[in-house]
């Protein structure tokens, strides 16, 4: 708004720089560019890591061999990458197992959660019935589900999958319910007065206006489900990503733990970049404004999801 107004005047006001000036200005421009800063961040991390290793060796009474060095971690990650591993299953198998569990839990949570969210958005009684329990499940730590399910189900797929469902479903319910509440009321009224059948109303009015909320729901459900899944696999799994990082932890290989943690981060970011961003770009192409909103929502995690809608509704 104000920014877009000021920018052209600022650009027009300064005289066009001649090539020589531009050349001398180049280093300063590079130094100021956010991209450089972004590249500098890993460098900075690396330096802090190395320096703290030196500091620890000099000052602190740590057993130094416990601390992983960057080269160790790099070597470990490379070995894992080329599937040369000491763990029972290699990197790809491990993540595939976890992904399978995550996907089954995610699918069930999305279906059940959408159904419940719709019911809660459409009927006041259902909302009153389920609201408190949804909030309770939302606030429950995944650790509790993980330990509980590991005790109930032992070491198989059902415990982790149930953990994913329980961790993810409240986000779906809350988002879908908000979506239903935010549907354009006048369109419903019009549909009713023109006696459009219910099924058609749902398909042409409810679903399109629900899409952004569904998408946000999927995103939360996925990321929270993933966080819950790895904890569940630590306590009640015999394989999978969570189990494998615990394997390195139990073996007391710090470089293994750090390396695997890096894989976790890479996995999450890859998924975000390769799956959710393209889908969001495709699904909301017709609605440029909304797309930016949804992308920001991914950052404002849990933003309007902890009973926030109650204050908003007031």
């Amino acid at each position: 708004m104000t920014v877009t107004e000021t920018r052209p005047t600022a650009a027009g006001g300064s005289p066009p720089p001649n090539p020589a000036q531009r050349l001398t200005a180049l280093p300063a421009k590079i130094a100021k560019s956010p991209l450089l800063a972004r590249v500098l961040f890993p460098v900075f991390l690396f330096l802090v890591w190395e320096l703290s290793l030196i500091a620890v060796e000099e000052i602190w009474p740590f057993a130094v061999d416990v601390l992983p060095t960057p080269s160790e971690v790099g070597a470990f990650m490379w070995d894992e990458f080329i599937t040369d591993t000491l763990a029972r299953k290699n990197l790809y198998e491990t993540f595939f197992i976890s992904l399978r569990r995550l996907m089954s839990g995610f699918a069930i949570a999305m279906v059940l959660g959408t159904a419940m969210g719709l019911a809660m958005g459409l009927s006041r009684a259902t909302n009153a019935f389920c609201h408190d329990w949804t909030m309770a499940i939302l606030a429950m730590p995944a650790l509790a589900w993980a330990l509980f399910n590991s005790i109930i189900f032992g070491f198989d797929d059902r415990g982790p999958i149930l953990t994913v469902i329980l961790a993810g479903i409240p986000f779906v319910i809350v988002n879908v319910r908000e979506g239903v509440r935010n549907t354009p009321r006048e369109l419903f009224d019009m549909a009713r007065s023109f006696q459009v059948p219910q099924s058609k109303v749902i398909r042409h009015v409810l679903v399109p206006s629900l899409m952004p909320f569904m998408f946000a729901a999927a995103r939360y459900c996925f990321s929270i489900g993933w966080k819950g899944l790895v904890i569940a696999e630590v306590f009640g799994g015999q394989d999978g990503a969570g189990w494998t990082i615990k394997f390195w932890y139990d073996a007391h290989r710090a470089h293994g733990v750090v390396g695997y943690a890096a894989f976790f981060v890479i996995f999450a970011i890859l998924f975000e970049r390769l799956v959710f961003e393209p889908i969001s770009r495709r699904a909301f192409r017709w609605r440029p404004q909304l797309q930016t909103e949804v992308v920001e929502e991914a950052f404002g995690e849990h933003h309007e999801h902890y009973g926030e809608e109650e204050t908003a509704r007031r």
Partner: protein, 290 residues
């Protein structure tokens, strides 16, 4: 309470008194029905937990479960009083709460500082990936890394809490900064108000509600991570007790510990923090309402 737009009064021609009366009656019946369903839900869930949950889990599991594995609410309550009588609970609560206070306090400061630094494009680029990683990575990895490096030292959990929660504060702060009154800042700049003064007089008051939101969301994550760190690298606190009772397959103790702390944290989160927020930002809500 959650006031939904129930009062859709469609009698503009009717006299005024009946209109109000109608609205009041509609609101009352809405309220009673809401409470009816709400209380019914509590009864239903507790009844299912007490009598039928075991069968449901047995069905899911495909084989019958030992009834001892799933104690009902009555047993959990009696275990709670048993543990309370032993006197270990306040100490565990204290240990966990101290850890949360130290870790999340630091995390809040760091997160807010980074959020303010991210006003500049350069620092935004610098911290972008850190925030992204902190938001998307499971807290478990920080817990395990710090546990393996620091062992049982208190520094480990603190760092784990900071790494998992700072980004929530940062995101809220930078969201607040995005919504800053640009015209005010521009004016301050053109009148050459110093950076420090600008931050103190315009930015901070405007950011306070966002900081508070960050505090609330951050806390809700922080206590979960704290419990998780205690499972791995601690010999006291709620997480430790949970771990012990899970290892001993003592489900009633396990449920008691987690539920006790769950209710306590929920109380802090929903009642205390929300009450404070409502109190201090009443003026702001009034502004946004108009």
């Amino acid at each position: 309470m959650t006031t939904t737009d129930t009062t859709t009064v469609e009698t503009p021609s009717a006299p005024r008194v009946t209109e109000e009366e109608l609205a009041r009656r509609a609101r009352r019946s809405e309220l009673t029905s809401r409470w009816f369903w709400r209380i019914l839900s509590y009864i239903a869930v507790l009844a299912i937990w007490e009598f039928a949950l075991l069968d449901i889990f047995s069905f899911l599991r495909g084989s019958p479960l030992d009834p001892k594995l799933l104690p009902g609410p009555s047993e959990v309550v009696s275990t709670f009083f048993e543990i309370w009588g032993e006197g270990t609970m306040p100490a565990a609560f204290q240990a966990t709460l101290t850890r949360i206070a130290v870790g999340f306090g630091l995390s809040f400061l760091i997160g807010a500082m980074i959020g303010i630094l991210m006003q500049s494009k350069w620092f935004e680029g610098f911290f972008k990936d850190a925030v992204l990683i902190s938001l998307s990575a499971p807290g478990l990895i920080w817990v395990l890394i710090t546990a393996i490096i620091f062992g049982n030292r208190p520094l480990g959990p603190t760092i784990a809490i900071i790494l998992t929660t700072f980004a929530l504060v940062t995101v809220n702060v930078s969201e607040g900064i995005k919504a800053l009154p640009k015209d005010l800042l521009d004016m301050a700049k053109s009148f050459r108000v110093s950076v420090f003064k600008r931050n103190r007089q315009i930015v901070i008051p405007h950011l306070a509600p966002y900081l508070f939101t960050g505090l609330r969301f951050g806390f809700s994550i922080a206590w979960k991570v704290t419990v998780l760190t205690e499972v791995f690298s601690s010999s006291e606190g709620i997480g430790f007790e949970m771990r012990i009772s899970a290892v001993l397959f003592d489900m009633s103790e396990f449920l008691t510990w987690i539920l006790a702390f769950f209710f306590f944290a929920l109380f802090l989160e929903k009642v205390v923090l929300e009450a404070i927020e409502r109190r201090y930002f009443r003026w702001r809500q009034a502004v946004t309402a108009t």
